[in-house]
Every structure is written in structure tokens, then in C-alpha cells.
């Protein structure tokens, strides 16, 4: 699946998008996999309360299932307007 990062999550991880093959059952499982990869991921995902997630471009929760999902995006709370 495609994993996207925006705003300071993108900056901390150092890339806007990557293809990840994962058997993670939920978003939270995927986060655990990413955290284990490298320090920059651990830093980006240190505090989940500061993060939001979209699953297939819909705002979602960290316990959302990933079965059949094509795109997951992580970002801070939105600040439009």
C-alpha cells in the first residue's frame, strides 16, 4: 500500500510517500512496524495524540483495519482556513 506523510511528519521522516508491503492488521500495527524501522520514524510517531490518520483518503482511527486498503496517510491536526 502507499503510505503518505504530510507537514512535519513528512519533514521528520524525510519523504512524502513510500510503498510499503505490510501484513499489519490495523493502522496501529502499521505504526508499530514503522517505529521499529529507524529513529526518524520513531520520532515522527512518538506521540500518536499529535497525529491524525486518513485511510483511503477518509479521516480514520488508529484501530482501523487495513485489509484491502490502498492508501494510508499520517499528518498533524489540520490547520486550513
Amino acid at each position: 500500500m502507499d503510505v503518505l506523510y504530510f507537514a512535519w511528519v513528512r519533514e521528520r521522516i524525510g519523504l512524502p510517500k513510500e510503498r510499503i508491503d505490510s501484513d499489519a492488521a490495523t493502522v496501529a500495527d502499521l505504526v508499530d512496524e514503522l517505529r521499529a524501522r529507524e529513529d526518524r520514524y520513531a520520532a515522527a510517531f512518538a506521540d500518536l495524540t499529535a497525529l491524525r490518520v486518513a485511510v483511503d483518503q477518509q479521516l480514520s482511527d488508529f484501530d482501523a483495519p487495513l485489509s484491502g486498503v490502498r492508501e494510508v496517510a499520517f499528518f498533524p491536526p489540520m490547520t486550513g482556513g
Binding site: 512535519w8 498533524p76 489540520m78 490547520t79 486550513g80 482556513g81
Partner: protein
């Protein structure tokens, strides 16, 4: 209903006037415009706006549709820019038309409250002494509770 997500500037006056003209004299037109603040001495050089292509348009459309479902509106317009904006530049606008001013005002406030916290935009302030992501404010999240 029109929703636009664009890097290019838009002509606020032309948009408001065109929206009002196109509403067949609904009686009441409200517009909100967000502008990059331009305070002397703030050191702000630019505002960078990032967004999530694809999701942004869908989120704004959903918010506009919800407003149309909740209030009796003649029309709704949402324009939001992304990219690098200078102080004083127009960031975004919404406009609503209704027979009664209460509907037009409430719908515009609703659009703004949801757009602010539920549409995937992120602002970064570029100042002389560094850059900083704008933090979401608790009161913006709390503003959703009234709807």
C-alpha cells in the same frame, strides 16, 4: 456549488460579485475571506500551505454538501489555495447565498469551522528567524461542537 483547490491567486472581488450575481437575488450573501496576516514587525515572510491532493477536494465537497443539506441555501462557493503565499495575500474564501441572512451566516460559519479542522491543509509560517508549522488550536476543534 463550486469547490476549487488551487495554487493560483483568485480575484476576491470578482468571485464575490460573480457569486452574488449568479444567485438570482436570493436576498442574502455572506462571504468569509482568510488572508495571510501582515503585521509590521512580525517578521513573517511567507505562509506555505501544504495539502493532500485528492482528499482535499473530496473533503471540501463533502463539507459543502453537508452545509447544503442543513440549511436552505441557494449556492455555496469554496476556494482554497496552497503553495507559498506572501503576507496580505488571500488564502481562501467561502461564500453562501440564502433567502434569509441567518441561514447564510450559519452556513458560512459551519463551512469555516469544518474546513479549518477537517480539510487536509497545513500551514507553515516562514519568518526571518526560522519556519514553524502552525499548531491547531483547541478552540478550533471545540468550535465543531456547536453544530
Amino acid at each position: 456549488m463550486r469547490v476549487a483547490v488551487q495554487e493560483a491567486p483568485f480575484d476576491l472581488g470578482a468571485e464575490v460579485a460573480g457569486f452574488a450575481d449568479g444567485c438570482g437575488g436570493m436576498g442574502a450573501v455572506v462571504s468569509f475571506t482568510g488572508i495571510v496576516r501582515d503585521r509590521p514587525g512580525s517578521g513573517l515572510q511567507a505562509m506555505e500551505i501544504e495539502h493532500y491532493p485528492g482528499m482535499t477536494e473530496a473533503a471540501l465537497t463533502r463539507i459543502a454538501q453537508e452545509a447544503q443539506a442543513r440549511w436552505s441555501l441557494g449556492d455555496v462557493l469554496v476556494i482554497h489555495r496552497f503553495g507559498r503565499l506572501a503576507p496580505g495575500e488571500t488564502i481562501m474564501m467561502v461564500a453562501t447565498a440564502a433567502r434569509h441572512r441567518k441561514d447564510a451566516f450559519e452556513a458560512a460559519e459551519y463551512l469555516m469551522d469544518y474546513l479549518k479542522s477537517r480539510a487536509p491543509f497545513w500551514k507553515k509560517e516562514i519568518a526571518r528567524d526560522g519556519a514553524e508549522w502552525v499548531a491547531a488550536r483547541d478552540e478550533d476543534e471545540a468550535a465543531l461542537d456547536r453544530w
